[in-house]
Structure formats: C-alpha cells, structure tokens
C-alpha cells in the first residue's frame, strides 16, 4: 500500500517550520469572498497583511471587493481565476458546510501550485471532512480547520483565513516568541491578549478548529514550532475528544522528531465527560479515553510536574499544565525563568478585575463593591463619546419591500404593527393608536391627557393650507389628493424645526452632563447654555398658549429626566426673571419628550424618532383638520381648530368624530369609529399606500412629505370593494323604511331581502354567462381568496369585530343582512358553499351606519358619504403608516426603494 508521507509523519505534511505556514510570500484566493462573513473579515485581513489576497471567487458573479488598500478582483470560479493568470498558493473557504468539500476539490483540481487550504466553515459533516482529508492528502496540500479562524504570522503581520485578532488584529497580535495553537478560535486571540499583558508576544497563531477531523493538529504543529527560529515556547488550548495530543506527545517521547521547546497548556472540559451531544465544538465529545481528565494526565506525565499553582509556581523545562487560561501569563513567565529567557517586551498590565461600567444605585457589600476604572485606550474615549448616544439604533439596510414595523400573517390576513394585531389595536382610542405607532408601546394612563392636549392643539390649521385643500377639491381632486395638497405645504415649517431643535438640546444637556433625578446642583456650563439658548434678552411677546403649556409642564405627573430639566429651565427663568424665547415650541418639545422619553431610553425608538415625535402628531392632527367636509357648516371644526386650551384634554377620538360627522358622538359611535380606524391601520408593508410613504422616505423627504407620498399612492381602488358595498347596500335598504340601522327591532325582513337578492343574482349571473360575459359583477365584500374552500367560510377579522360588537350590544342591520345573505346565496344555489363576509364589509357597514341618519335626513349627499368613507380609510392608514415612515427613516438607506435594473423589463 502506497502512502504519500513526508517528514516524521505517516501522512503528508507540507510545512517544515511555522514560518512557512503563511508569510509575506503567501498569496491567497478566498472562495465566497462576497458572503456576509467574508465581506466583513477579508478586507481587514487584506489590509493587515499588506494586500496578500490576489483574488476572490463568488460563484456566478464577477466584480471586486473594495478594501482600503485597493480592490480585490472577484471571479466566477477558480477556473476563471487561473485563466486570468493569477497565481495563489493558499485557498480560504467561507462557503456553507455542504459546499466546502466541492470547493476543496475545485481548488485542488485547478491549481497545481496550491499548498494550503484554510476552512473557516463550521458544521461540516464528518463524511465531508473525511473526503477533504483524502483529497488533500492525495494532492499534497495542508489543510487548516475546519471550523477555525485561520492562521496569523505576527512577525510578518499576515493573517489568513478568519478573523484572528478581531477587527483590529494589530491591537492584540504583538510580535514575540510564543507559538499559539488553540482548539478555540476565540481563545487563540484571548490567549494572545492575556500573554501580551505580561510581556509575551506571538510568533504564529493557529486556530486549529475542533471538529472530529483536525487537519493541522498538534503533532504537525509542534514539529513546525520546533523548526521555527522565532518560537521559544508554545501556548496550547485543548478540549476533550480526539487523540491528537497523545499522538504528538508519544511521537516526542518516541523521538520521531526532536522537540525541546516548553509548552504551557490549558485543558478544559472535564464536565463534557458524560455528555452524549456536543455543544460548541463538534469534536469536543469524548469517546473512550480522550476526555479532559485523560488529556490532563497525558500532559502532566509529559511535564513531570503537577498542574500549575500560581501561588507556588513550579514548572519543568518541558513546561506545565494550567487549570485556567488566566494563568497563561504567570505560567509562561515561570517557564521562561526556568529556561533563562526574558519576555519579549515590558508587561503592560494584568488580568485583575477592572470594572468598566456599573449601575450607580445598588450598593454591594464591601468585598464585592468594585470601583469603576478608566477603560483601556481607545475604549475610554469611546465610552466618553458614546455616553452621549441614546435611544435605539438600527443597522442601515435596504428596506425596499421590508418593514420592521408591520407584518401580515399570511394565514389569517391579520396585520400586526409592532407585535400587536390591528384587531387588538382597534380597541384603543385613536390617540392611543397614534402614540403606539410612534412609541411601539401603549401610553401610561397618566400620559393620555398630554397626548390629547398636543393632538388637539395641533388641530389648528392656517387659512392658506385650507385654501390649498379647497382649491384641489373644487377642481375634482379625489380625497387623497386634496388632503395631500395642504400636507405638502407643511414642508419643514418653523413649528417642526423649532420643537425638534429644543428636543435635541434637552437630550444633549441630559446626556452630556449626566442629569437625572439625583441632580441637585446643575453645572454652571449647563446654566450658561440654557441662558444663551432658551432665554431671550429682548422682550418676548406673551404667548397665552405657551403659558398654558408651561403650567402643564410644571404640573405634569410624568417624571423623567426631560421633564425635570424642563421644569428646572422654567424655574431658572422665573428665578432670574428671564423670558423664555419660544415658549410655545419649547413647551411642545418638553411635553413631547415627556411622552417619548421612556420608549427612547428602553431603546424601542431612536433618538431621532423621539425628537421628531411632535412632527408626527402635527401631521396627524392637521390631517384630521383638513378632513372636514364643509368647514363653514361645521361649528365643531371652527372651534377645535382655534387652538383654544379650554377643552384641550378632551379625547382626540371625540374630536375626530365631531370634525368628520359634524355632531356629538354616542359611546357606541365612538367604539365604531375606533374599529373603522383600527381595522384600516395597515395591511402590511406591501400595500401601495405604505410603499408610497416608504418611497418618499427613501428619496429623503421631510416627514409631512412622506405622508403626502402615502396619500398620493392611494386612490379610488382602495378599500377593497368597500365603496361598492356601500352602493350595494343603498340599493337594498330604503331610507324611508330604515330609520335606525342600530336598532335591532327594525321590522325589516332581512331574510326576504337576502333571498330576493340571491335569486336576482342567480338570474343575473346566468344571463351574464349566456351573453358571454364571464367577468360579471360580483356581490361586493363576500368571499375572500385566502379564506375560501371550506363548507362554511369565515374571515377571522370579520368574526373578531362581529363578536366584539355583539359583546358590546352593538347591532348593525347591514352586517346582519350580510350574514343572512351569504347563507341565502348558498341555499338558493348561487354559491357552492357558504361564503365569508369579509373585513371590507365590516368597514362599509359601520361607516354606512354612522352616516345613515344624516343621509336619511338629507344632511349629506351621496358624494359626501363616499368621500367620508374614503377619508376614514385615509385617516386610519395615515396613523398606521406613521410606523412605516418611522421604521424606514430609522433603518433604510437613501434611494433604497429603487428597483434593480435586473428586475426591470420592457413590454411591447
């Protein structure tokens, strides 16, 4: 039997000295170079190593990987790299596990000069590892890994493979005389870091991986370390499983090769002895005699001294075993003393407990209480800088067709916003819905008055904006367009700009000066800043609303840093008899911060969202004001849009009703309005209404313009066939006979109308088919593409609302009719099964019920009725789209809604 073998091994090993493993002459090709992990790690390796990556492969693609020191060309395959005349001797594989064996085969087949392959991938099957070993041995190629972080040659500042040393390899990997071999990638770096503190640098570091197959294992590593003139000692980290260490030590004992350098080894994992399943490292499962205890014994016997005791250091010239990785520095020092060698450089610290961050409130007993110390550079500066940051932060990404705010359950068609279904949200007041869509949590009860106060005050709209709306309406614009017109005039007006500026300043002061409830004395520089930025030297015209809000700020029950600082500023102005510059805007900012401070601190919303919160309130409230059908006839509108503080904490939901329906609502009607708004909040990010807003954000528009973007992307096609349902119902119900759609005792024979409708429909259907018209009109709002197929079909959303209404004793004759109609259609043979009444029907029947009385009394026209139904949809969706706008502003990138060229097509 012929075996390719070299050196003292019965198998192929190419490396003679660790210096050869990777060095300045190494030229690398990375497979799957543009994969998510490689894209991050490879440029750092390339830059650290002075540009040794000569090519990359991304199957089926070409291009480059940009790095600070130049682009790395990317090819479609190894064959293409070779055809381009690029020479490399080391291949690095970043592919998913099932593809690794193929990549090894490809590297070997196409590159005769290949010396080394580094496999970063974890969870490669043992079968594939076996084949990789077989192929590499046949081809005389060394393999490092798999499941490893590669190799570093610190003397040559070269790192190949994974991310040894992290994103700043130079920080940890200092040139020195220790060769590191570790079963753990992380510990390869951590051990180097620990050794550095006591003056030991690294010659080469090998992250061996800890799969069952370790291709560059301890025997060959020790052989190469012995032949490496840079290396004086070895640091090893070993886990249970496998006989690699025993074989290495046996080879030394049997003098298969000469080995004279000391080893400090840490073996961990005694606890893994009885496990039957691996955790962490696949190969770290002990079998018969390769558990941690056995491995400790192998080394102890080799060293001839017991495990290292840091208090009574005893080592041999062969080295010592340590029980914990924290003993590496001390044990290595003891070993160097023993062999009369000096550390590589001055020690730079120790590994004692150094507390970087601590809570400032819970007192621990003396023995546990540690002082906070300055973090090592550059982290100390980072701590200082980052202390200013507050609120949620998101990774910027392409948000086209994505949302972190809403999602629709494909099965139930129920959309969730921030984890709550629109059905749940329908039970809230509209002011709570508005708050929730911004804050992602429900407001505290004590905050409701403030929310209403702000929303109601912001109902004030100026004449010019209303003129823009009226002008558009007069010229036949649809409701979405005539509501967008005044929205577009908001731009980034002074209200929005100033409140944001004050919010920003308040947050900065709190964060930079650590202001909190314990702050008794405000620093002089804070006071100076307040006097400069918040107070006016000139006389300021008295603003009664500003004064009204100031009292509200003073008396608010919400206690947080923002409120405390605002209260301090008010007090300071009173004490110093100074006038606050923009009292109204400052107070708006303070109240807005008081509402959104907690979700910002809890990292639910970003700082920017917190600062912008008032802008969202402003748009929603303005939109409600724009929605009035006839402002001249609506006394409620006239009163509510005057920004009078008298009724300012009334429910915003009430006020919406009054503006839309021009009358006082009953409790039942308010409940119905909440369902109307709640159910239309969102149908997920895929709706074109949401897309309109997202695309506008993507184009970097101001907040009000993004809302206009949503408006401009809605139209008559919206609301499913809800508007048709209104029309359909008007044909079925006579305004003379139906006085009150909410009265169960209506004395109308609904079943008779249903049967009649069904029969007529069958006739109509038959005639249509006979005349060849297969796209004949269907009865609106019954059936649904997702919920069909069963004998009796339900739309779960409709079921939910119907039940809620029934439980509350709310009757709706139109809904009752719809339920009877679907049964009748089945009994009369018009449908093969019982169709569902869908959620659009619910919206239509509620809207129709709310408008019926005015319709019967000819107070509103058919057109008005249609417009109100449309506007209700727009208002609901505007509240819901707030969350999409915020989400896209927080996560998206500029122009991310563009469609890639590859997805475009030209149609003849």
């Amino acid at each position: 039997m012929k075996h390719i073998s070299s050196k003292p091994f019965p198998y192929y090993v190419g490396i003679y000295s660790l210096e050869e493993l990777i060095n300045k002459d190494t030229r690398v090709c990375v497979i799957n170079i543009l994969g998510s992990e490689s894209k991050k790690v490879t440029p750092v390796s390339h830059e650290y190593s002075g540009g040794n990556i000569v090519a990359g492969v991304q199957y089926g693609r070409t291009g480059v990987l940009e790095t600070k020191i130049g682009d790395i060309p990317v090819f479609k395959s190894i064959r293409e790299v070779m055809r381009a005349g690029i020479n490399f001797d080391t291949g690095v594989v970043y592919l998913p596990p099932t593809a690794v064996c193929q990549a090894v085969s490809e590297l070997i087949q196409y590159n005769n000069n290949l010396k080394t392959i580094i496999l970063v991938t974890e969870k490669i099957s043992t079968k594939d590892s076996m084949m990789i070993r077989y192929m590499a041995q046949e081809a005389s190629v060394d393999v490092i890994g798999a499941n490893c972080l590669g190799v570093a040659n610190v003397w040559d500042t070269i790192r190949v493979g994974g991310a040894l040393g992290g994103d700043k390899p130079g920080e940890t990997l200092k040139k020195g005389s220790i060769a590191v071999h570790s079963n753990s990638g992380n510990f390869t770096t951590t051990i180097s870091e620990y050794l550095r503190t006591s003056g030991f640098g690294v010659s080469s570091a090998v992250s061996s991986g800890k799969d069952i197959y370790i291709h560059f294992a301890l025997p060959e590593f020790l052989f190469a370390a012995q032949n490496d003139p840079r290396t004086k000692a070895i640091a090893l980290y070993v886990e249970p499983g496998g006989y690699y260490e025993k074989i290495a030590l046996d080879m030394i004992r049997d003098r298969k090769f000469s080995f004279t350098k000391p080893i400090v080894v840490c073996v961990t994992g005694r606890w893994k002895k009885d496990l039957t399943r691996s955790v962490g490292h696949a190969g770290a499962l002990a079998g018969g005699g390769d558990d941690a205890l056995s491995k400790e014994k192998w080394f102890d016997e080799y060293f001839g001294v017991p495990v290292f005791n840091p208090d009574k250091p005893e080592v041999s010239k062969l080295g010592v075993r340590i029980s914990s990785i924290q003993d590496f520095p001390k044990a290595m020092k003891a070993v160097y003393d023993k062999i009369d060698e000096k550390p590589d450089f001055e020690s730079s610290g120790d590994l004692s407990l150094k507390l970087w961050l601590s809570d400032g409130f819970f007192k621990l007993p003396k023995d546990l209480d540690l002082p906070v110390v300055k973090a090592l550079s550059p982290y100390d500066e980072q701590i200082k800088e980052i202390n200013k940051h507050i609120g949620a932060t998101y990774l910027r990404q392409n948000m086209r067709n994505k949302s972190g705010a809403s999602r629709m359950d494909a099965k139930t068609q129920v959309t969730e916003i921030h984890g709550k279904t629109v059905l749940e949200l329908s039970k809230l007041t509209i002011e709570e819905m508005v708050y929730f869509n911004i804050a992602k949590i429900l407001p505290e009860k004590s905050q409701i008055d403030t929310i209403n106060l702000l929303l109601n005050l912001l109902l004030k709209v100026d004449k010019e904006k209303m003129q823009a709306k009226e002008y558009a309406k007069q010229h036949g614009a649809s409701p979405n367009a005539y509501l967008a017109a005044p929205l577009l005039t908001i731009g980034n007006n002074e209200y929005i700009k100033k409140t944001k500026r004050y919010s920003t300043m308040i947050i900065n002061l709190i964060r930079e000066h650590g202001i909190d409830e314990k702050t008794k004395e405000y620093p002089a520089e804070v006071i100076k800043f307040i006097e400069k930025e918040f107070f006016s030297k000139q006389a300021v015209e008295e603003n009664p609303l500003g004064t009204y809000l100031l009292d509200h700020v003073k008396g608010t029950k919400t206690k947080n840093e923002a409120v405390l600082l605002a209260q301090f500023i008010i007090k300071l102005s009173e004490d110093k008899k100074s006038q606050i510059k923009d009292k109204f805007e400052f107070m708006l900012a303070a109240l807005s911060l008081s509402l959104f401070w907690k979700p910002m601190l809890e990292k639910r919303i970003s700082r920017e969202t917190c600062e912008d919160a008032l802008a969202y309130f402003y748009v929603i409230a303005n939109l409600v004001a724009f929605s009035v059908i006839d402002k001249n006839k609506n006394k409620y509108w006239q009163e509510l849009t005057q920004m009078k503080p008298s009724k300012s904490t009334e429910s915003f939901t009430n006020n919406i009703f009054k503006i839309l329906f021009n009358r006082e609502p009953s409790d039942i009607e308010l409940t119905e309005l909440k369902y109307l708004i709640g159910l239309t909040l969102s149908n997920g990010p895929g709706t074109i209404s949401a897309k309109g807003a997202k695309e506008s954000v993507s184009a970097k528009n101001y907040i009000p313009t993004a809302f206009a973007g949503f408006m401009l992307n809605t139209g008559f096609a919206h609301g499913g066939n809800g508007f048709e349902a209104v029309d359909f119902l008007l044909q079925k119900f006579d305004k003379k006979t139906l006085k009150n759609p909410g009265d169960k005792n209506h004395s109308i024979d609904l079943e008779n109308i249903a049967t009649d409708t069904s029969k007529k429909y069958i006739e109509f259907k038959k005639n249509s088919k006979e005349s060849g018209n297969l796209s004949y009109a269907k009865i609106p709002c019954i059936n649904h593409p997702v919920f069909k197929g069963k004998d009796v079909n339900y739309d779960p959303r409709e079921q939910f609302v119907s039940k809620e209404l029934t439980d509350k004793g709310i009757y709706n004759v139109f809904l009752d009719f719809y339920h009877k109609l679907v049964i009748s259609l089945f009994h009369e043979g018009a449908t093969k099964n019982i169709f569902c009444v869908n959620v659009d029907a619910v919206i239509s029947v509620i809207a129709l019920k709310l408008l019926w009385n005015d319709y019967v009394n000819n107070k509103i026209s058919d057109l008005d009725m249609q417009e109100i139904v449309f506007i209700l949809f727009l208002l609901g969706r505007a509240v819901g789209v707030t969350s999409e706008i915020i989400d896209h502003r927080s996560r998206g990138t500029d122009m991310d809604c563009r469609t890639p060229q590859s997805e475009l097509s030209f149609v003849l």
């Binding site: 099957s125 496998g242 962490g280 990292k603």
Partner: protein, 422 residues
C-alpha cells in the same frame, strides 16, 4: 442523535439487507411471542430506551426467557426500568422481544465503524469476542483497519483480519459477504458511529449467517443524509429537554444553537460566546450554570433575540444572575448580540413583569462599547443592577465574580433589592 437496539435498528439493517434478529414490540400478543420462540424455545427481552443507550447487558437489563410467562414477567420488570447512562438516569419506554439466535459455538462478533482521530480516517474494528467493551480488549484481540473512503470496506481486509484474530474458517466467508455492506450504511445515511455487538453466527443450511443481535448508531447532526432513513424524529426527542429542543429549532450551519441544559435549578443564566468560553465557563460555574452554550460565530440579531427570548421564558423567573461571558471576539459583533439579548430581556419583562436579577458581563470584540452601552441603557431603564468588565479582565475572574454575586444575591441581595426597588 443516537439509537440503540433493534426496534429502530432493524430499519437500518433493512436498507443494506444485513441480517438481524427478528423482533417484536412490547405490545406483541402471546401468540406472536410463541411464534418467535418456536425455533429455539427462547426469547430475548430488552428494555427500549430512546436515544443511544449502551451497556444494557452489563446492567442486567437483558433477559433470556424460556417461556411466554417468563417473557411477560420480564416485560413487566423491564417496562419502566431505569438505566444510569452517563450523567443521566434514563427511564425505559417499553420493551422489545427479540429472536434468540442460536449458535453452535460461544463465539460472538464485534464490529464497528467510526472515524479515528488517531489516523484521521474512517476505520472498522473487528473482534471475535462480542458482547464485551471493546476498549477492554487487548490490542491483539481486535483488528483496527483503515477504510478507503472511495472503495469502502475491502473484503480482503476482513478476511485478513478474521484470519489474524483466529476466526473459525466456516464463519469467514459469510462475514466477508455481509460486513462490507455496512459501509454503505455508514457512508450514505449520515451515520457517524455504527456498532454491532454482538453478531451471532446462525446456521443457515450448510452455511452460516451473521445475525446482528444489537445495534448502536450515532448520527452526524451536520449530515442531513440520516433523514433518508425515515426514522421518526420523536425517537430523538428524549435526548433533549424542552428548552434544548426549542433552541435547537433555530439551528443553522452558522451555529449558535448548541445548548446543553446542565442544571435547570441553577441560578446563573450564562450566555457563553465561543467554544472555548463554553468549555471554560461551564467548568468554572459548576452547578450554578443553568446551561452550557456557545452563541459565538457572529449570530444575526434576529437569532440572538429569539434565543434570548427562549432563555428568559424558561429561566428568568428563578435565576439570580444573567451572565454574558466570552473572550475578545474576533468577528462576533458585540453590539448586535447584546442588542438581541437585552431587547429580549426588556420585552420579556414588559410582558411578564420584573424579577430581581443581577447582570454581569465580561466581553471584548468589535463594537464592544456600543454593545455595553446598549445593555447599560436598558438595564438602567429597568432599574436592574449590573457590572461590566472589558477583555483586560481575566474571563475566569469575571466568572468567579459572577459566582460571588450569585451567592450574595441568593443570600440577601435579592431581598434587599426587592425591598428597595420593586
């Protein structure tokens, strides 16, 4: 993922037509048992354990019954038998009745295939003393032969090994005919260890037939080929706790879903990052660690959040300390992982309410300070105490400190906190 015994092992043997002892499930009728006993008047009764459980014979859990009544009595005795296996006691889940395979000599065969770390190849091990622990046999009584991965088990290797071991001539040919088939099983169905112990040589006309009387197989979780066998997934469920199986559902090739529940009554929730940290931290924490984990390998936010959510659902209520421990990460984004953990903590508390808990962190790596401040802001808002150490503190010292905090919390800290801050 392991199986033992013939109840499901027979499914494997059928794949490669390797003979095995006929067997019946515990619910077999008297008539079926009688039928199985007919040729020899004997029947073997074994308890059935989910997962891979060996050394049943040594533990006195294998009975040879000579009558139906004896068989039924054995069934009664063994049905809920408990077997100490590794560090766990496992309860039987019924019994299996197996054909008693007669043999004209006392010889039993041991055969196994596995991957050897000594020679870094697949090997087969053959001995003609079955039913014993192979590790206990001296080297000269077993043959360990490398397998060529392209050809598989070579017949002549078996012939030579059997001859060297002194196998009676009449058995050699049947074994040479049948044993190589087992490579197909090993190589094509995601098996990582296959052990037939014992194989008995049953007379078959003028010749002999090797009959497998027990099997132990381990499957490579990273090789999906095992799914082709069609074994019910439920037979592996017994190997994992509810917590482990919930986490395992998130398993991808990028890792982060390996957890082993160590002590569900422990008091430290340890988020360990890196295989090394997993090993060192579990060792240092001892019984305080609720589980051992390795969430390293740069987990994406969504995964870290889901993992943390599961962890808090299971253990937040009774734990004293949340520990995040790892060395200086190479490529794991600290900010992303901390965001996942502490968002999940915040959301858990929002739904289930706050319980006193102390957080200790020892970590280094990319975006470290951003990550620490993310944790700090959430913990400050939740008014929960914490200590955070950088990577210039020994990981082991941080672990020891966490243990001391845990002791204090259990002794009085929790109570003091509850009194003042709940």
């Amino acid at each position: 993922m392991q199986i033992s015994g013939l109840r499901y092992g027979s499914k494997l043997f059928d794949l490669v037509e390797f003979p095995y002892a006929k067997n019946l499930s515990g619910g077999a009728t008297k008539e079926d048992i009688e039928e199985l006993m007919k040729p020899t008047g004997k029947i073997v009764v074994k308890p059935y354990f989910a997962g891979g459980v060996g050394k049943k014979g040594k533990a006195g859990l294998v009975r040879i019954a000579k009558s139906v009544d004896e068989a039924l009595k054995a069934k009664e005795d063994l049905y809920f038998a408990t077997h100490k296996h590794g560090n766990k006691s496992i309860k039987a889940n019924g019994v299996v009745f197996e054909e008693f395979v007669p043999t004209d000599s006392d010889m039993e065969i041991y055969f196994s295939i596995t991957d050897s770390t000594s020679i870094r190849k697949a090997i087969f091990t053959l001995a003609i003393e079955g039913g014993v622990d192979i590790e206990d046999l001296p080297a000269e009584k077993k043959a360990i032969i490398p397998i060529d991965p392209l050809i598989g088990i070579k017949s002549f290797d078996i012939t030579n090994a059997l001859n060297d071991l002194g196998c009676p001539e009449q058995y050699v040919s049947p074994l040479v005919q049948h044993l190589p088939k087992l490579w197909d099983l090993y190589d094509n169905y995601g098996v990582s260890t296959l052990e037939l112990n014992p194989i008995r040589m049953k007379q078959n006309g003028k010749s002999y037939l090797p009959v497998a009387c027990d099997l132990k197989a381990a499957f490579d979780q990273d090789n999906p080929d095992y799914k082709r066998i069609g074994l019910p997934q439920s037979i592996f469920i017994g190997e994992t706790t509810k917590f482990e199986s919930e986490i395992n559902k998130l398993r991808t090739y990028q890792g982060q879903s390996d957890v082993v529940e160590m002590n569900p009554k422990g008091s430290i929730i340890p988020f360990m990052f890196g295989g090394g940290a997993n090993s060192a931290a579990t060792e240092t924490l001892g019984t305080k660690a609720i589980f051992a984990s390795d969430f390293g390998g740069n987990p994406p936010y969504e995964k870290m959040y889901e993992i943390s959510k599961i962890v808090f659902n299971h253990f937040y209520d009774h734990a004293s300390v949340i520990l995040i421990i790892g060395g200086k990460a190479n490529n794991t984004d600290i900010y992303v992982t901390f965001k996942g953990v502490f968002d999940a903590l915040r959301d858990h508390i929002a739904v289930n309410g706050k319980k006193p808990i102390y957080t200790v962190i020892g970590r280094g790596g990319p975006n470290l300070i951003q990550g620490m401040f993310y944790a700090k802001d959430i913990l400050d808002t939740l008014k929960l105490p914490y200590k955070m150490f950088g990577y210039d503190t020994s990981m082991i010292q941080t672990l020891e400190y966490a243990k001391r905090i845990d002791d204090y919390w259990l002794k009085e800290g929790r109570e003091i906190y509850t009194k003042n801050y709940m």
